[in-house]
Symmetry: C2
């Protein structure tokens, strides 16, 4: 099967990594759902017992549901297209308007499915980012683009996900007036804002509104959405939509919700708005910037600590939506508003994470405190060159060191020489001479003395747990005048078992009487040692450099 078999679109689509399903013990602040299902659910289920014609097809015209939506939205039934949630609705929009290569305009950061569904339908994206300072629509630029480019669909998410910011009706009208295409206003979060563009429907033929029962109706699992547009467009949408995209269960539940739970919806909306304000103030008090929101979530700028905070919340069985590595959203985390009790759990968890102060830090030495690339490795190279009587390349050294079981540098050198007529002792002796009489002085600190002093000021007790011989460890400390920084150094000779045994770490903990400490290392054996010593561990590597670790700790 050749790759060209696939459509051009399918050849470039990225396989999606679905979120893992989490247990019910996890508090979800990551999905913008309401904290509980609508009360009508139980009645709905009971009514179906012994009376559930699921073997038959449901009503493909959704006659009853459309009547109820028509009443709820105050717009005629023939302006409604019922869909399998917002996903199918957006797919219909893509199919109805986009020819291959037609433009659609999004205002990032915004709901990501706008882009993916339109690209699946062969559209070409134009991005006009929201204003950086407040995530408001950059209307001037939007209009400018619309005037110069034949844009088929302009997306307005109102309120916007994930920022919670809104676009005023006057601005939406401006866009409607200045485009030759349609404007898709996504009002999935409308109820938490209170303003709708439905009254504009009768005025603008090019307005399409996207709605979903997922959020306001507390029915995310049921997958029911709908489009509102003029009668002619609605006819086209209905011709394109799946013959029966909504399950019998979901259709009936949506009907029951609109029949029985409209007061509950109002109460929930009120509760969410109240909690939104409370959560806004609580997180602000913790010292973070919170964006004003008109949705059932808030966007918080946790800065550089964002991912760490999300990780720690996860350890506490709390999920939030970490967007901190996304373009336009650096440092930002989206947090769903849930009920009072659940929001309190979140805030308390955050407080605990903020207040977690270690009573001391334990460092590995090589690769964490000290850069040994110019010392030990160079000693290997020079020793091997001497015995092999040729100029050994650093790449040869790297190669042997990267082999498993080559942690001990003397053994690595001996293996590199690979000559049984030469004694191990003579190699070790030459190596030590080279290292101790010169190369050791080439070792540089990876953390500045100034930063180390700041860490000392904050955490009081700093210790070292290293596999170096005592002399070599102490030499570096003296050489860099760090005696007053480190209160304790446990080296090779101080314990009977080296890392990954926890002995050296436990020795530091005992000596400094630490109760809440953390080990900072750079290798799997460091990680294992911390685990066995039952203390937290921070790894230094390419994804989290020593500078980032210091930033985090300070």
């Amino acid at each position: 099967m050749n790759k060209n078999l696939l459509s051009i679109m399918a050849q470039t689509i990225t396989p999606y990594q679905w979120a893992k399903n989490v247990g019910q013990e996890v508090l979800r602040f990551d999905t913008n759902t309401l904290p509980s299902p609508p009360p009508c659910v139980n009645k709905f289920l009971k009514d179906l017992i012994n009376n559930c014609p699921i073997n038959e097809y449901g009503d493909p015209s959704y006659v009853k549901l459309k009547k109820l939506i028509s009443k709820y939205e105050n717009t005629p039934e023939d302006t409604i297209t019922v869909t399998n949630s917002g996903d199918e609705a957006l797919d219909i929009i893509g199919k109805a308007f986009l020819n291959n290569g037609d433009y659609f305009l999004i205002q990032p950061p915004t709901y990501e499915i706008f882009k993916s569904q339109c690209e699946i339908n062969r559209g070409k994206v134009i991005e006009v980012p929201l204003l950086k300072e407040n995530f408001k629509s950059d209307i001037k630029n939007v209009i400018k683009v619309l005037k110069n480019t034949p844009v088929k669909i302009t997306f307005v998410c109102n309120p916007n996900n994930p920022t919670g910011s809104i676009t005023k009706l006057e601005e939406i009208e401006l866009i409607l007036k200045n485009t030759s295409g349609i404007v898709l206003v996504d009002e999935a979060y409308r109820e938490f804002y209170g303003v709708s563009s439905v009254p504009l429907l009768s005025k603008y033929n090019n307005l399409v509104i996207l709605r979903s029962f997922s959020k306001f109706g507390a029915m995310a699992g049921a997958r029911v959405g709908y489009l509102l547009a003029n009668k002619k467009l609605s006819q086209v949408f209905n011709a394109i939509r799946f013959p029966l995209g909504v399950s019998y269960f979901s259709c009936k539940l949506a009907e029951k919700l609109l029949e029985e739970d409209q007061n509950w919806i109002k109460d929930q909306t009120k509760m969410i708005k109240k909690e939104r304000e409370r959560l806004f103030q609580s997180i602000k008090k913790l010292g973070f910037f919170v964006y004003p929101s008109q949705a059932n979530f808030i966007l918080v700028n946790f800065g550089k600590k964002a991912s760490d905070i999300c990780e720690k919340l996860k350890e506490n069985n709390i999920l939030v939506r970490d967007r901190s590595n996304k373009k336009y959203l650096e440092g930002c985390v989206r947090i769903t508003i849930r009920n009072q009790k659940q929001n309190n759990i979140l805030v308390n968890s955050l407080k605990n994470i903020m207040n977690t102060k270690y009573d001391g830090l334990i460092f590995d030495m090589d690769g964490v405190l000290i850069d040994v690339s110019q010392s030990y490795r160079e000693a290997i190279r020079q020793t091997a060159s001497y015995f092999l009587k040729r100029n050994v390349q650093m790449s040869e050294v790297d190669q042997i060191k990267n082999m498993s079981g080559m942690n001990n540098d003397w053994e690595a050198t001996y293996a590199l020489i690979n000559d049984s007529t030469i004694s191990y002792e003579s190699v070790k002796k030459y190596f030590q001479k080279k290292y101790l009489t010169g190369l050791i002085n080439k070792e540089k600190l990876l953390i500045s003395k100034k930063d180390l002093q700041r860490l000392k000021n904050k955490y009081k007790n700093l210790g070292i747990a290293t596999g170096r011989p005592k002399k070599e460890a102490e030499y570096v400390i003296k050489n860099n005048k760090l005696e007053k920084i480190f209160d304790c150094i446990i080296a090779l000779e101080d314990v009977t078992k080296s890392k990954p045994a926890p002995d050296s770490l436990l020795a530091v903990i005992k000596k400094l009487k630490l109760k809440r400490t953390v080990y900072i290392g750079d290798s799997p054996s460091d990680f294992l040692a911390a685990k066995l010593a039952k203390i937290p561990y921070i790894n230094v590597d390419k994804t989290k450099t020593i500078l980032q670790v210091i930033n985090y700790l300070l």
Copy 2:
């Protein structure tokens, strides 16, 4: 809003007329569904009471459902794409393979959504019809087309809907080997056949199998389907599919079905197969051709009576799928196999419809028995020409006759002459002379004497209820030597009230002592007279000519 705003596809799509929802009193033999929901439904509903997290999103990876499908199908989990029924599955296929204008091949008559979903995704159809004699695949022609045309998707519906015919695995392999594209085998009805192409999956990279829980799982209302294909294709399908197209309810029910009801599925399949044979024989006995079927429906050729039979079944609250006006399916009706009791109701209803024998027929004369276009109208034309002293055109006659209130030809002629100096009586006299002394002989029978004799043989009593003067009615009968055919003629003078009053019909009924008769007419006043006389009515017009009526009655 200009029309070009829509995509080229959307500009030409036909607005769909959704089937009307029917009440629960209607027996549905039109949807190929199983007669009852799976037994696990009630347990499923009870389990959800007080434990229905419909406010949250379900598992977008369908982990559990995929495990169960994997076991049921005996194919790895990474070959499965769970979809919102077959509709989304076919949409994914369209998106995954079709660029604008790419070819797909269908073998009509077959499942119609293949074509519509591929056309929505901008594909171009190639049709290789099934063989006329047995609705088997025209493999030679399919292969020929595949060799000459770059077809992206070849559809095989196995068993085929609506014919119930099958394509052998060897034939499917032949297609797989001879195409540069993929082959989509729709196995929605597999269980009722018993043969699957799943074992071919590991052998052919270009095989994709479509499955649905709708039929075998008695879950049509739940909208759950899946695609089976090699791992790479499945990755693409999963990237294209909706993030969460299946509702929480439907996903859970599908899981429960596979966990608890597999034996029930086997029993149902067995029952359907047994009933299929029984229904096949019963309808065959009624004298109709039934196509052999490996699905849970049969296709019956009712010939010219198809639509009438469907109509009459509907009057008995039985719906079947009338395909008799579709290309390739002339005269054919698709009937779902339901349970024994329901199938018996259907067969008995059919028997009743077949055995409905009238104990007499009542005919209108003009336009039904007799072609009057060369007599009365010509008499009008000649009379008017005489008085107006010019050659009156037939178009003028038609114009006056088409005006409301111009039933009486003497009055019509007088109106056409439109001259108060001329007396009505003189016009009438001239008209009668022309008609009775010549034109009356130009009147031809619309039904051959031979057919009338056959009707007489079958129904025994034939009567006429006409608005003609007695003499003129009797003249035609004598002239055509039909005295022995018709037992009773009620004419203008025989009743005080003409049609649309029922008097003339009631007079025939009384005279012939009819208990179950029918009136055959050609005008609204005929229809009304039959209605008032409380007897059935057959209208002769362009959509049902007199020849069709005779065919039906014989």
